[in-house]
Amino acid sequence: MGAPRTLAATLLRAAVRLVPDVSREWATAMLRELDFIEGDWAALFWALGSTTAILRHAAVVWRTWLFQNGNQEAGMNNTGKKALGVGLGILSALALVGCLFAGLRIVSILFPGLGLEHSGWAYWLAVMAIPEAIFVVATVLLWRKKGPVAAGILATGLAMALHIGVHFAMR
């Protein structure tokens, strides 16, 4: 079994473990299909698409669960809703950074020849520049309709920028 196929199986197994019960059957179905796909790279692309699909499906379930639970627990006043929105924004922003970082790691493992492992600019681009650009765009787009979520994203972006600023100031 080649490295891309191993990675594909690992990715889908992780998805099966991670997703809620409603999505698990589908995640398992996608994982089982891997055995029938010829070609390691085809298997990896299958797994990447499948993982994206299953996480989107799970996200809908999680969001529904989150808001239903919140509403039941405390009558969900306005402040609570806003806090949830901000939390969701922060989580989304951190998830984006995590995904980009993981993506970079995967690429550096799959293509060691690129030398990304020791490339400072690649990490700078993937973990700072691209996320910050996305945060700015997302904040602008979401500000009117989903203000708290936009605020959460903005706060994360500012915290990251501050962190980097301090990092460079200390060097």
């Binding site: 398992t28 089982r32 029938f36």
Partner: protein, 107 residues
């Protein structure tokens, strides 16, 4: 109810209309339709949620774990035939106007 019948959804409906009694696998559907898994599975999930598809697990080959299989429910078959016919005659409006059962139009 909002109608969203994408070209990809129509491809999937069309693939299922070929030998409707047969159970079909995800990867085979992907090859037949040319859709990537990230596009195909959300369509399958929505169709199953709307009871247009029935699913089951079956051991396809000895020694290998069971696979998830799909085929139309009677309701799904009616919907697919009406939708594909409407699309072929350039009359998707028939679906939007409610000539196809209302609960089935949002895929």
């Amino acid at each position: 109810m909002k109608l969203r019948l994408s070209p990809q959804t129509l491809l999937v409906l069309d693939a299922f209309l070929d030998r409707t009694e047969d159970w079909k696998y995800g990867y085979d559907l992907s090859r037949v339709t040319g859709l990537k898994s990230g596009t195909l599975y959300p369509i399958l999930m929505r169709m199953a949620e709307r009871k247009l598809l029935e699913t089951k697990w079956e051991q396809a080959e000895p020694g290998k774990p069971p696979r998830h299989m799909y085929r139309f429910t009677p309701e799904g078959l009616r919907f697919a035939r009406a939708t594909v016919m409407a699309h072929m005659s350039g009359g998707l409006d028939q679906v939007a106007l409610g000539l196809v059962p209302q609960g089935l139009v949002k895929i």
